[in-house]
């Protein structure tokens, strides 16, 4: 059983959960028109955290980046009202972010931090050291579901007995990098975003941090007792940026969470949706809610208040959901006026309502979806069975050398002299792969794609499984930094400013999973864990947890990393199945 022990939100609406709750209750938005051209040549509606106020909480504000300060302030504040000890060996620190310190790539900002700081694992290490947490920090970077997924991972690690408490903290800043990319995608709204409104015109980018502290110890929990009953991720296997056209895969994530929590749609009193206010995302969500019989359930999106805070969004919105449960109150979905054709029950005014069970959903680039159930009444059954796994096949593709089941085969001549791109293309031809999309991929996705093709070659192994029972769990080091740096070049020169959408779309590590899922029609659990080195035991342990929970029956898992800035690479991929 996993209970809520504390929380904090830092956003454009304030530096504490209560300040944010107060503003939401008054239906105030933190979204403002921003005209400073250091953020974007064109004015844009955004939701930003006051940097001066953030700095005021630090004796030496210059020793940390804004991203790190968001995490530190949020964790500090959440710990204040919690009995959980962050220095305890049984407490794990889990950090969710999409881009971390990405603004350090912009050399014109003259930020005086070591280059390594742009690595997501490095900033997580700094946070861990700041709070003297004794365990290795777990970093999750899985596009816009990162925050929700981090809470799900925390619950699983506690339920499995590996830890007793978890500090789950997510943050993202809004630099020119992110804003320009979404502008290039023509996805940014020309006013504050209007989730689920028939006349919605796109998303509003934002920044912020959220922290939620979880524990299995009732005496450390907040009153009223609120627990996380279940959670699931899924993949659309449709497109790397566009959402599913049917909503079926988000529906998979919702149904599997119902099953885990032993609840039915009628038991759910409230849906805290993702609701980015882009045309296709909201349409997809509405379809998924109909498919899962939640179309009459009270639903809102908090994006009209805070915009999209990316890696923080799932955590911040889960905290708002917790507030609805403890206050018995539902909050207006700000920006919604006109009903859409895909009708769902959007909350148009604040109202008192006894919320016993709620579901939080999230969806993101790479085709990923997540759902998690928050409850104040039911207690869940910890049904951990012990299921072992077997490794069916292993592939290692490292710096132009290829191993299948630990035996080296080198089909490419002069492989030592080739660049990655040339070597990869030679492999693509050698294995007679026909997939024109391959050429559009960035290096990380090409690497992941090739490794998975070779792993699954000549095997109809996956065919005996349902698409939703196949999982892809990847450990990665440098995230998408190699491509991030390439994208940064397209926005560096103000006289030659052409942000490239086809480069920007690859600036998330989990896009590689999206590519594998599209190619193989895989719709199950999917996660990118970031760590400096490959912690194989952790990845295997996590896959075992998925098997134990019935969330997957087979897994493609391992390490896929294209190092930045050195360019050395590794894909060590395993095909693992349950030992029945």
């Amino acid at each position: 059983m996993v209970y809520i022990s504390g929380h904090n939100i830092i956003s454009s609406l304030g530096f504490s959960s209560s300040e944010n709750f107060k503003n939401i209750n008054k239906n105030i938005t933190g979204i403002k028109l921003w005209t400073d051209n250091t953020l974007s040549p064109e004015p844009a509606y955004v939701s930003l955290v006051n940097s001066k106020k953030l700095d005021a909480g630090f004796l030496n504000p210059d020793s940390f980046t804004k991203y790190e300060k968001l995490l530190i302030s949020s964790i500090k504040n959440a710990l204040k009202n919690s009995k959980v000890d962050i220095k305890n060996k049984k407490t794990v620190l889990i950090i969710s972010t999409t881009k971390g310190n990405i603004n350090l790539l912009n050399k014109k900002l003259n930020l005086k931090f070591e280059n390594e700081r742009v690595q997501l694992w490095k900033s997580s290490e700094i946070i861990k050291e700041y709070f003297k947490n004794p365990n290795q920090a777990i970093t999750i970077s899985n596009a816009c579901i990162s925050g929700a997924l981090a809470i799900i991972v925390a619950k699983r690690l506690i339920d499995s007995g590996k830890f007793e408490n978890a500090i789950v903290s997510g943050a993202d800043i809004l630099p020119e990098f992110t804003l320009s990319g979404f502008q290039a995608f023509k996805a940014v709204s020309d006013g504050p975003c209007k989730p689920f409104d028939a006349n919605r015109t796109g998303m509003t980018p934002g920044e912020g941090a959220g922290t939620v502290i979880l524990t299995n110890d009732k005496t450390k929990a907040l009153k009223p007792l609120i627990s996380i009953l279940g959670g699931t991720s899924s993949n659309d296997a449709n497109h790397i940026s566009g959402p599913s056209r049917t909503g079926k895969e988000l529906a998979i994530a919702i149904s599997k969470s119902f099953k885990e929590a032993n609840l039915l749609a009628k038991d759910i009193d409230y849906v805290s949706a993702h609701g980015t206010a882009t045309l296709f995302n909201d349409e997809m969500e509405a379809k998924a809610l109909s498919l899962t019989k939640l179309n009459l359930t009270h639903t809102n999106s908090f994006k009209g208040y805070l915009g999209h805070t990316f890696g923080a969004a799932g955590i911040i919105e889960t905290i708002f959901t917790i507030n609805s449960l403890s206050e018995n109150k539902l909050y207006k979905s700000l920006g919604f006026k006109n009903k859409d054709i895909n009708e769902i029950n959007i909350i148009s005014e604040n109202k008192n309502f006894n919320v016993k069970n709620a579901i939080k959903t999230a969806s993101g680039f790479g085709g990923c979806n997540a759902s998690l159930i928050v409850s104040k009444e039911k207690s869940d059954i910890n049904n951990f069975r012990k299921i072992e796994f077997v490794i069916k096949k292993k592939i290692k593709l490292q710096d132009n050398r290829l191993f299948i089941n630990d035996i080296e085969i080198n089909p490419i001549e002069n492989y030592n002299d080739l660049s990655f791109s040339k070597y990869a293309k030679a492999l693509y031809k050698f294995f007679k792969i026909k997939y024109p999309k391959y050429y559009k991929m960035d290096k990380l996705s090409k690497l992941a794609f090739l490794a998975s093709e070779i792993l699954l070659k000549d095997e109809d192994f996956l065919k005996k499984y349902d698409e939703e029972d196949i999982s892809v769990i990847i450990s990665n080091g440098s995230s998408s930094l190699d491509t991030d740096a390439e994208y940064q070049k397209t926005i560096e020169d103000k006289n030659n400013y052409f942000p490239s959408p086809s480069v920007f779309v690859y600036t998330l590590a989990n896009i590689m999973i999206g590519e594998i899922c599209i190619r193989n029609k895989i719709k199950g659990e999917n996660t990118v864990f970031i760590s400096k080195d490959f912690n194989k035991e952790f990845i295997f342990e996590y896959v075992e947890i998925l098997f134990n929970l019935g969330k997957a029956k087979v897994s493609l898992c391992g390490r896929i990393d294209y190092n930045y800035p050195h360019g050395n690479y590794i894909a060590e991929l395993y095909l693992i199945e349950m030992n029945k």
Partner: protein, 84 residues
């Protein structure tokens, strides 16, 4: 016009990483999206950047792209009409 269509084909192959394609494999009149080259929504956005970068033409509403990017021919006609 013929020069422009040839140049456009080269630019599209480069911008959209259509590595297996040669210029003469792209038909001037055939649809670029759907059946034709199998381009998708990200490619459409990249074509908007291509027009702005190489021809100084700005397309504000991505929906306008549907008509403009129908084929190489429609693209060339639009460029000839709007080039500053």
């Amino acid at each position: 016009m013929e020069d422009l269509t040839l140049k456009l084909k080269e630019q599209i192959i480069e911008a959209l990483n259509l590595e297996d394609m040669e210029v003469d494999e792209i038909e001037t009149d055939e649809p670029l999206f759907g059946e034709g080259l199998g381009l998708d929504s990200i490619d459409a956005l990249e074509l908007i950047v291509l027009l702005e970068k190489n021809y100084g033409i700005k397309i504000e509403n991505p929906k306008d792209g549907q008509k403009i990017f129908y084929s190489i021919k429609t693209m060339a006609e639009y460029i000839t009409e709007h080039k500053s």
